[in-house]
């Protein structure tokens, strides 16, 4: 019984003792240490957006350096002080910017901001639960995430600056505090922040899994769950299995840094000084890191894919094509994601035979990804597409997923990776397939579920403006980078002026920087829209998008426990859009088959003999009636 005791879970109240409930909530328990999943989702979202804006500003700073390596900007010195002496970024600080931009975007925005927001918001609302399995753990999860964010950002205020060894923090660079400025205190803070972050992620993940498995409402069997829930479910499992490995790696790194162990260190002569480390292997860290790191990129993209599945189906007014195939693809991606990590390490000196094996598994993972793409296309085919801003972003996601996914075939191929590894080709690849696609999934989710979160509507036309500027901007930024990579330009280079052969890319760099600035400014449209709509937006109707999933049956005014009275029962899958024979183009999950006899199909009665019998009788009776007429 998967629906155990959901009816009694959480606060129990009817409409009339509403006021009574407000009585208990102080400002502190309602807005700060809230245990309500909807409030926690908002906390995650707003923290995530804040972190995203910070990381975006960091990226603009280093983009300016790349576009104008010989140019001094006095404002930079005013803003950054000793990190930009004379108005030019310090090379070490440039690397800090790159590192913290990557870390924040991957972990704080696209893991916590995306998964944290939408898993928290949608899991209870879409499976029909009053709240998460453990609201307290959920609260802890947010506050650990918040702590991690604060610690990460605090590293900008220490003397030697933030961590700067790249977001992958490979030792020995990250293990030897003297190897670079950022490997000192900044690295320590990075590691502490990451441990908090992983704890937060685990608390969240365990909660998501247990809520989905145990607290579904009556009738919500696994095959009736929306694809969003499937995606969050598998994402949470990936997180629970993969993140502890990162902690293990990080703890060993802390030991190497502070307690003189040699897990990752061997044969080191740093700046002429012979060190005593012996017997460790830097490659070990890479194995541990990427054992998390590769599932991590799917932790980032799968919720975005789930969200876009839901949004594309709703706004095409069509069932998602191949629901089962979509679920099996997600499962396939999840399983395979654990055996492909070695493709990040083809040229590390790992045994080349292993490289061959990882190449095979990596290219296999392209099959479920391709199936998902084709299914999206088939969903759009002969739809009746409503271009809400959310839909635009979902379509943008599919476009990025294709463009970025295809270049994965180059990088996943060990032979080609030799020449492309650590070049701009990689930067272009993952910013499209993981960065842009996932951020578009997140934005699509914000536009789509904003009415559910804040009870207000966002302005559509500002959303359109935001979409087009961001979409075009992202392609202008990342498409040319492929060619820089194909010309053998390594990534994380502070200036292209040191090598004669790279100078010709300076004009392209300038172009990219201006495209990036344009996309960054376009986000102002979003931020304005977001904040303005929270306070002064049009009040949202209960089901603004004509959607089938059950979160739209809950009242617009939030209440702890989600539904007044009983939780709705679910009778059908969530994708009955434009079903022939029905007068509307959607049938919510809560409508029993008995109320829609005219549109039911035999397929709807799998494992339901009595229902099928009734259906056949109804069809026969109807036929007779037709003949009589």
């Amino acid at each position: 019984m998967s629906t155990l005791a959901v009816q009694d879970h959480g606060a129990h109240h009817d409409g009339h003792d509403h006021g009574h409930e407000h009585h208990h909530d102080t400002f502190l328990t309602k807005y700060i240490f809230s245990q309500d999943h909807k409030m926690i989702a908002k906390q995650f979202l707003i923290t995530g957006i804040t972190m995203a804006v910070i990381a975006m500003i960091l990226s603009i700073l280093f983009r300016i350096q790349l576009a104008y390596p010989d140019h001094a900007f006095p404002l930079m010195e005013t803003l950054l002080g000793r990190f930009a002496p004379g108005g030019r970024l310090d090379p070490g600080f440039y690397l800090s910017l790159v590192t913290i931009h990557g870390t924040i975007m991957v972990f704080f925005v696209l893991t916590a901001g995306l998964s944290g927001t939408f898993s928290n918001l949608l899991i209870p609302l879409q499976v029909g639960a009053r709240d998460m399995a453990s609201p307290f753990m959920n609260m802890l999860s947010y506050w650990l995430f918040f702590t991690a964010s604060v610690i990460m950002l605090s590293s900008f205020f220490i003397e030697k600056g933030p961590a700067s060894g790249g977001w992958t923090i490979y030792p020995p660079l990250s293990a030897l505090p003297k190897a670079m400025k950022g490997s000192d205190m900044g690295m320590t803070l990075w590691l502490i922040s990451m441990v908090c972050f992983v704890a937060s992620s685990l608390l969240g993940g365990i909660n998501y899994v247990s809520t989905i498995l145990n607290m579904r409402t009556k009738g919500m069997d696994l095959w009736k769950m929306p694809l969003t829930i499937w995606a969050f479910f598998l994402t949470a499992i990936l997180g629970v299995l993969a993140f502890p490995v990162l902690v293990a790696g990080v703890v060993l790194l802390i030991f190497d840094r502070s307690f003189g162990t040699s897990f990752y260190l061997s044969d080191i002569v740093l700046q002429g000084k012979v060190m005593s480390f012996e017997g460790g292997s830097p490659i070990l860290f890479q194995h541990l890191f990427w054992f998390l790191g590769h599932p991590e990129v799917y932790i980032v993209i799968m919720p975005a894919l789930g969200i876009s599945s839901e949004i594309i189906a709703t706004n095409s007014r069509k069932p998602i094509f191949g629901y089962h195939a979509m679920v099996y693809s997600l499962i396939g991606i999840s399983v395979l994601s654990f055996i492909v990590w070695g493709h990040h390490m083809f040229v590390t000196g790992m045994n080349p035979f292993l490289g061959g094996v990882f190449m095979i598994t990596t290219l296999i993972i392209a099959v479920p990804s391709a199936v998902k793409t084709f299914n999206y296309l088939a969903t759009l085919w002969r739809g009746n597409i409503r271009f809400t801003p959310a839909m635009l972003f979902a379509i943008g996601l599919v476009s990025f997923f294709i463009s970025g996914g295809l270049t994965g075939l180059f990088l996943g191929n060990a032979a080609l990776d030799i020449n492309l590894h650590d070049t701009y080709f990689v930067v272009a690849h993952f910013h499209l397939v993981m960065g842009s696609a996932a951020i578009f999934g997140m934005l699509a989710g914000v536009y789509h579920w904003f009415p559910r979160m804040f009870g207000k509507m966002m302005d559509e036309r500002l959303g359109y403006l935001h979409f087009w500027l961001t979409f075009i901007g992202a392609y202008l930024v990342f498409f040319p980078m492929h060619f820089m990579g194909l010309d053998g330009v390594p990534r994380r280079y502070y200036a292209f002026t040191e090598f004669e052969s790279m100078k010709r890319w300076l004009s392209v760099n300038m172009f990219i920087t201006w495209a990036a600035i344009m996309s960054a400014l376009a986000q102002v449209a979003f931020l304005f829209n977001f904040i303005y709509s929270i306070f002064w937006g049009k009040k949202a109707p209960m089901n603004p998008w004509g959607s089938n999933t059950i979160e739209w049956t809950a009242p617009v005014e939030h209440l702890h426990g989600n539904w007044p009275g009983e939780i709705p029962t679910v009778y059908r899958w969530p994708y009955d859009y434009s079903k022939p024979g029905h007068h509307e183009d959607f049938i919510p999950q809560t409508v029993p088959l008995s109320q829609t006899m005219s549109s039911n199909q035999e397929h709807d009665y799998e494992e339901n003999e009595a229902g099928l019998q009734a259906h056949k009788e109804w069809v026969a009776a109807n036929k007779k009636n037709e003949e009589v007429k």
Partner: protein, 392 residues
């Protein structure tokens, strides 16, 4: 209507003002190329200009939005239909598809021509073939899927009188588009696997020229094996200021080792680059040879390649007399990461032996002093030094 006219007039003035400001700003930015300390005030006013410009832009956008809305409402009052955003967005997607495809094509032609020249190594040719096959397949898929995506978005844009086609699944189609990618990927996997194995083939090849390259912050050290073609052993704890690689002189093979500033290799010979690092991970990246391998402290690795085009040949091909093959560091290794260069020069066998005979022995006087070695024939050529060393 009066209202909208007023707004239009206001907007026009604002736009004019904005343009003027923009012009003023661009000329100011032009003179701003070399700012000095005294220009701090100017700097802030420059920032103010930009902020003001952006605010103006936002205002303009807001006003355009208002005008649209007013126009929409008034035309609705006159009994016309409101703007159909579905149609607008559908058409925009169609336009994006056309312009995007043109842009991608332009990028392939213009920026694609800036890519690396043909591979200068034997295995690089197979890499490039592999690349072309993958490129062909992915570009076809890219074009088809993007056309379908934006084409569908345009064709099936919502209209109130239409109903979408209820089409939840079709097992045959799904099987087809699972199997076809699977087959294509199998081809790529098999092709790629054998290419990869042939490149990383680790069996010993007789006649390999062993060259050692060691990365440290922020330079590459090169060591050539000398006449015996064998590199002497190293042990990192032997590193001193003079013996900066930690070469072990208990190993006789070390005595004739040479050090060099440029990675010079003979064309057509099998070169075995022995790669290590001293402090942090570096990466030996020689894009013209399609060659990359990380240099990891404590983990000696090697990459074997056969250069096929001399530097002179490549210069002729590119019509660039100053062209040099380069060696970069491709793995983030510290502040100087962007500037770890070494020139790689491919020469004929004859030139190579001449060049080699002019290189300094690694066993310098400084090291000899450190090791308290008997000074033997200090002025002798390396080869001679080698023979004397053996007789020690």
């Amino acid at each position: 209507m009066i209202n909208s006219k007023k707004i239009a007039a206001l907007f026009a003035t604002l736009l004019l003002g904005g343009t003027q400001l923009l012009m003023a700003q661009t000329s100011a930015a032009g003179t701003d190329a070399a700012p000095t300390e005294e220009q701090t005030a100017a700097m802030w006013s420059g920032v103010q200009y930009y902020v003001l410009l952006f605010v103006l832009l936002c205002t303009a956008v807001a006003i355009i939005g208002r005008i649209f809305k007013v126009y929409d409402l008034t035309s609705q009052l006159q009994g016309k239909k409101p703007t159909n955003w579905n149609t607008v967005m559908g058409i925009l997607f169609a336009i994006f598809l056309v312009l995007g495809m043109y842009g991608a094509f332009w990028s392939f032609i213009v920026q694609g021509s800036m890519n690396l020249p043909e591979a200068a190594s034997k295995h690089g040719v197979t890499t490039d073939n592999m690349f072309l096959v993958t490129f062909g397949i992915t570009v076809i898929v890219f074009i088809i899927t993007q056309i379908l995506l934006f084409g569908f978005a345009f064709l099936y844009r919502g209209r109130p009188d239409r109903k979408a086609y209820f089409y939840p699944h079709n097992n045959t189609i799904e099987k087809i588009w699972t199997i076809i990618p699977a087959i294509v990927l199998t081809v790529l996997v098999v092709f790629g696997f054998f290419t990869w194995r042939s490149i990383t083939n680790s069996t010993e090849v007789k006649g390999d020229i062993n060259i050692e390259i060691t990365g440290h912050q922020f330079a590459w050290e090169l060591r050539y094996p000398g006449a015996d073609n064998k590199l002497g052993k190293k042990y990192y704890k032997l590193t001193t200021a003079a013996n900066n690689l930690g070469v072990d002189f208990k190993d006789k093979n070390s005595f004739d080792d040479l050090k060099a500033d440029t990675l010079v290799v003979p064309v057509g010979k099998s070169i075995r680059l022995n790669i290590t690092a001293q402090d942090v991970i570096h990466s030996v990246y020689m894009p013209h040879f399609r060659l990359q391998l990380n240099a990891v402290p404590g983990l000696p690795t090697f990459f074997r390649f056969v250069p096929t085009l001399t530097t002179d040949q490549m210069r002729a091909k590119l019509a660039d007399p100053s062209f040099e093959y380069m060696l970069y560091c491709a793995k983030i290794c510290g502040d100087g990461h962007y500037n770890m260069k070494r020139i790689v020069r491919v020469v004929s066998a004859a030139e190579y032996s001449v060049w080699l005979s002019h290189q300094q022995p690694y066993l310098s006087d400084g090291i000899k002093k450190e090791l308290n070695m008997v000074a033997t024939a200090p002025d002798a050529a390396p080869v001679v030094a080698d023979s004397t060393a053996h007789s020690l």
